[in-house]
């Protein structure tokens, strides 16, 4: 699958050959920092001074590289496809090699950053449990009522919530049985076949 670069992207990346080899490394670093932490105008200014290039050029270069890296990582394009995609830019072999290396070195990290942007439900974090026996209440004395009290920790968008839940012994066994069935599903032929064929 080839990456399609618009005229604007190509223009942004067009500054790279003029900037030189060292610049590509610097711009690559800036692009990644931007992905990890967000835009950093000061860093761009510093790089502009160090490399003796205009701030705007640096900015465009970083944007162009960011787009190139994120789109390639998102689509998980192969080495060959990546090389073919940047071929249209008409860069030198050395520059192409540097860009490819930049892509391969950082692909995993970029994918994990992109993964955090996906829509997410609260996800399981931990479960604590406690065994209780209710002995009496205002409406009934002399009870022996066993219960399992649990604290379910869930993560949602960097917040962690803890919910207190309770269940009785019979329901607990039912929960275990149902969830074990759920776990067993991944091992069935049907699921295995799907996983094998979708790669």
């Amino acid at each position: 699958m080839l990456l399609v670069l618009s005229a604007e992207h190509r223009a942004h990346l067009g500054c790279l050959p003029r900037a030189g080899g060292a610049a590509v490394g610097e711009l690559g670093r800036l692009a990644l920092e931007q992905l990890r932490r967000g835009a950093a105008p000061r860093a761009c200014e510093a790089a502009a001074r160090k490399l003796d290039i205009g701030v705007d050029t640096i900015q465009h270069g970083v944007e162009g590289l960011t787009y190139l890296l994120t789109e390639s990582s998102k689509l998980m394009i192969s080495e060959i496809d990546f090389q073919d995609s940047i071929h249209v830019l008409g860069f030198s072999d050395e520059l192409n090699k540097s860009l490819l290396q930049l892509y391969l070195d950082n692909r995993k990290e970029i994918r994990s950053i992109l993964g955090e942007l996906a829509p997410r439900l609260p996800s399981y974090h931990n479960l604590e449990w406690r065994l209780d026996v209710q002995l009496a209440s205002r409406s009934l004395r002399q009870q022996i009522k066993p219960a399992v009290t649990m604290k379910l920790y869930l993560n949602q968008n960097e917040d962690q919530t803890a919910q207190v839940l309770q269940t009785d012994p019979a329901t607990l066994l039912h929960l275990i049985q149902q969830l074990e069935q759920a776990l067993g599903e991944m091992k069935t032929n049907h699921c295995r076949r799907i996983v094998r064929n979708m790669k």
């Binding site: 998102k74 689509l75 998980m76 994918r111 992109l114 993964g115 942007l117 996906a118 829509p119 997410r120 439900l121 609260p122 996800s123 399981y124 931990n126 479960l127 604590e128 449990w129 065994l131 209440s137 205002r138 409406s139 009934l140 004395r141 002399q142 009870q143 009522k145 066993p146 219960a147 399992v148 009290t149 649990m150 379910l152 869930l154 919910q163 207190v164 839940l165 309770q166 269940t167 009785d168 012994p169 329901t171 607990l172 066994l173 039912h174 929960l175 275990i176 149902q178 969830l179 074990e180 759920a182 776990l183 599903e185 991944m186 699921c191 799907i194 996983v195 979708m198 790669k199």
Partner: protein, 193 residues
């Protein structure tokens, strides 16, 4: 087991064969148990009770219900109940009638009283869904199995409550099931003690 003066007053009327003949007495006992355990509205419609003055009927019904609930709460035995009713001047036959009716309904009463009260959200059921993620608009070729688990919960006060749903990976689900199994094992050991 003790009853309030109001309840005792009601029982004294109930114990009086002139004010409460046999059939109405039996009918009132049945009505009292039914109104607590089945339907609070319909109970006093029994034709055997139509000759009793409504105010008296209300007083006696309240007295009977109070006695039933108090006995249930304290898990009172027959002798305790009998002593209490003797103090209200009930004759042996009527006491026995009450105790028989009480024994019949004792278990249902205990369940009812035991279910009243505050407790954390109670899990009643679980449903799950297994999905295989292929891509999203931010990331393609994700290729990961993921579970969506929904715990159906009930509130002790209002009955229903929005369910607790969460997603998890296979490892996380294994962790969860492992912990639940620990709890179950610990329960089993506790019941053997």
């Amino acid at each position: 087991m003790e009853l309030s003066p109001y309840a005792q007053g009601g029982w004294r009327v109930l114990g009086d064969p002139r004010r409460f003949p046999r059939r109405p007495f039996a009918a009132l006992l049945r009505a009292a148990f039914r109104s607590l355990l089945e339907d609070p509205q319909a109970a006093l419609d029994d034709p055997d009770l139509k000759d009793i003055d409504p105010t008296v009927l209300k007083h006696c019904h309240a007295a009977a219900a109070t006695c039933i609930l108090e006995a249930g709460k304290q898990k009172a035995d027959i002798s305790a109940i009998s002593t209490c009713l003797e103090d209200c001047k009930l004759d042996k036959e009527r006491i026995e009638q009450f105790c028989t009716e009480y024994q019949k309904n004792k278990d249902a009463l205990e369940i009812l009283l035991g279910s009243i009260g505050r407790s954390p959200l109670h899990i009643t059921d679980v449903s799950w869904r297994l999905e295989y993620q292929i891509k999203n608009n931010q990331l393609h070729k994700t290729y990961q199995p993921s579970y969506l688990v929904t715990l159906n919960v009930e509130n002790s006060d209002s009955g229903s409550h929005p369910d607790v749903s969460f997603s998890c990976t296979m490892e996380q689900l294994q962790d969860l099931v492992g912990k639940l199994k620990d709890a179950a094992k610990s329960l089993e050991r506790a019941t053997q003690m």
